[in-house]
């Protein structure tokens, strides 16, 4: 069992232009399931490999169970890692792969045999114990990699995108399976992914990273409800949140936001915007919070034209353009290209009982208490 803490850790690769990690701070509690999530190249793998002792630390302190671990050899940390490539030993059978770590540590043969059998049972690998990894399917290899980590009862599990090579169904299955195993063993786990569904469903806490720093460390619920900034808001949630630039105006004595011909009175939820009346703000509206309204041109209704409809079965994903509404105001966001790509159109996720097709005019409403507001200069949540 282990606590792991990063204190102002930084990493610059030799020859690398930008730092891979900058002032990285993270406290992982004993038995916790932490997910590191973020776009490609944000330093997730780097942080994970530092815990394993596979990557040098350029600056700062890494502590495992209160001892400074910066210079500790991997084998003295007793941490198990599941690699994205699985990194199974190709010349050994499944049983030997699982037994490897125990054998290296000089554990008695009969104890090893027993543990291997138990682990294989747990992961339903018993019938493959004599096979070489080359003759296993992707899912089976993944389970062997898990087994190799589990069998050792290590201080901590590190997993680097362990499910990214699996098909969608298997991924869903293994997601639940890994969560279950972690609860069962209560071993501290650090899980790296760029899949926000995995992040939301598996982590006790999730660290959203961008460009080598943690943007927000919180429970999945709070990341969704109260993102710290536009980057987190856009990264968590699928389909991604809509951003629009709006003016803060006074309406019936209270604050309201206005964007094109969409005027949304905020009521009590807008009290914090009162000082900003006359200024600008970025709205964040999640596609699933937009509801279809009876066609009318009243306040609080957003009218738009559907340019594209994706039928997802239970729901419809509408891509729309609003009248005079600028979507995805990119210059406030950390990673501009990402947002321009993901939110060029206004998106709404609505019940599939609505009959809507391309070109239809549509009216939408949103509960003002669900709307997020961001500072246009800094991108920070208001």
């Amino acid at each position: 069992m282990a606590q792991i803490s990063f204190e102002n850790v930084s990493k610059t690769y030799p020859g690398g232009k930008a730092a891979a990690l900058v002032n990285f701070n993270l406290n992982i509690k004993d038995g916790e399931f932490i997910v590191l999530v973020g776009p490609s190249g944000c330093g997730k793998t780097t942080a994970l490999r530092m815990i394993a002792g596979l990557e040098d630390i350029s600056g700062g302190t890494l502590r495992i169970n209160d001892t400074v671990a910066n210079e500790q050899a991997p084998r003295d940390r007793d941490i198990a890692m599941v690699f994205q490539s699985y990194a199974l030993y190709p010349h050994l059978t499944v049983a030997e792969n699982i037994a490897f770590g125990l054998k290296v540590r000089g554990i008695k043969t009969d104890v090893i045999a027993k543990k291997v059998r138990e682990t294989a049972d747990l992961l339903e690998l018993t019938e493959f114990l004599d096979r070489k990894p080359a003759r296993l399917s992707g899912g089976q290899r993944q389970r062997v990699a898990m087994g190799r980590a589990l069998v050792r009862s290590p201080n901590a599990f590190l997993m680097d995108e362990p499910l990214s090579n699996l098909d969608a169904r298997l991924r869903g299955q293994m997601r639940a399976e890994i969560s279950r195993l972690q609860r069962m063993t209560a071993v501290t786990t650090v899980y790296v992914t760029h899949d926000q569904v995995e992040a939301m469903t598996m982590g006790d806490r999730v660290a959203v990273m961008n460009k080598g720093t943690i943007q927000q460390l919180d429970t999945p619920r709070r990341l969704y409800d109260k993102p710290a900034n536009m980057f987190v808001a856009s990264f968590i949630g699928s389909p991604p949140i809509n951003f629009m630039e709006a003016a803060v105006v006074s309406h019936d004595g209270g604050p309201a936001v206005s964007c094109g011909d969409f005027l949304l009175p905020l009521g009590i939820s807008g009290a914090r915007l009162s000082p900003r009346i006359g200024g600008k703000v970025i709205l964040g509206i999640r596609p699933e919070h937009l509801k279809v309204a009876p066609q009318s041109r009243s306040t609080g209704v957003l009218s738009a034209e559907t340019s594209f409809v994706e039928d997802l079965g239970a729901t419809l994903l509408l891509h729309m353009s609003g009248h005079g509404i600028a979507i995805g105001h990119a210059n406030m966001v950390e990673d501009e290209r990402d947002l321009m790509k993901t939110a060029p159109k206004l998106k709404a996720l609505i019940d599939s009982s609505h009959r809507i097709s391309r070109g239809d005019a549509i009216a939408l409403t949103v509960d003002p208490s669900l709307v997020l507001f961001f500072d246009p200069e800094t991108g920070v949540t208001l």
Partner: protein, 273 residues
Amino acid sequence: MARVSTRRVVFERVTILLITILFLLPVFWLISTAYKPSNQIFSAPPRLTFEPTFDQFRQAFAIFDVVSLVRSSLVISIGTTVLSLLLGVPAGYALARSKSRFAPGFAYFFLAIRMIPAIAALIPFYLLMRDIGLLGTWWAVIVFNTMLNCAFVTWMMFSYFKALPPDMEEAALTDGCTQMGAFLKVAVPTVRSGMIACALFCMMFSWNDFLHPMFLTTLDAKPISVALLTAYGTKDITWGTLGALAHFSTIPIVLMALFMNRYFVQGATNGVQ
């Protein structure tokens, strides 16, 4: 699988057979002379039928100390192979895993060593061996051939290790291995096919090598390649005797190649993905 037409298969087989015959004809001729009586070896046109005789073998054993020759050849080639791998495999690994940007350049430098004409190094090496008292022994040839082969093995193994993702060794490190343990228990077994290819290469090079042992060995350390080629042209040694002797210079290396080839194929199909 698409069905290949019978005619094409026949055509391919016949072509392969013809080419094989073309290559093996000189060997066959040499081997067959060993079973012919001396007076029939040069008969023109060549006679395809003859009464097989073991006279030539008797002659070969009378003139040459065949056992000692074969033993020398074996000691020299196995010694060279073992030493070359022992030095070259770790060296190649170290270069492949080195973070220095000079490492690949270094590896190519080793390849360049293999490219220099061996004869240029032979004279200084001769003097060196004389001074340290190894001249005339197996060791002189083993060290010289190791010098050449080990450079090549280093470069070959550098490429093999470079192609191997370091994940598996890193997994071994987290599994509790030392750096050395990860190398011996994971990296080495994974590149086994590459090592066997290197071993075959070293073995054949040393077995067939004539020039270096010719210079560096004396009578009692002489390998069979030297005996075979120096005997040529001597008055009382016939082609038939040479044919008989050639048996002992070809059969061991062919057996060795067949034996290692089995592991080679096994090793090559062993890798994951």
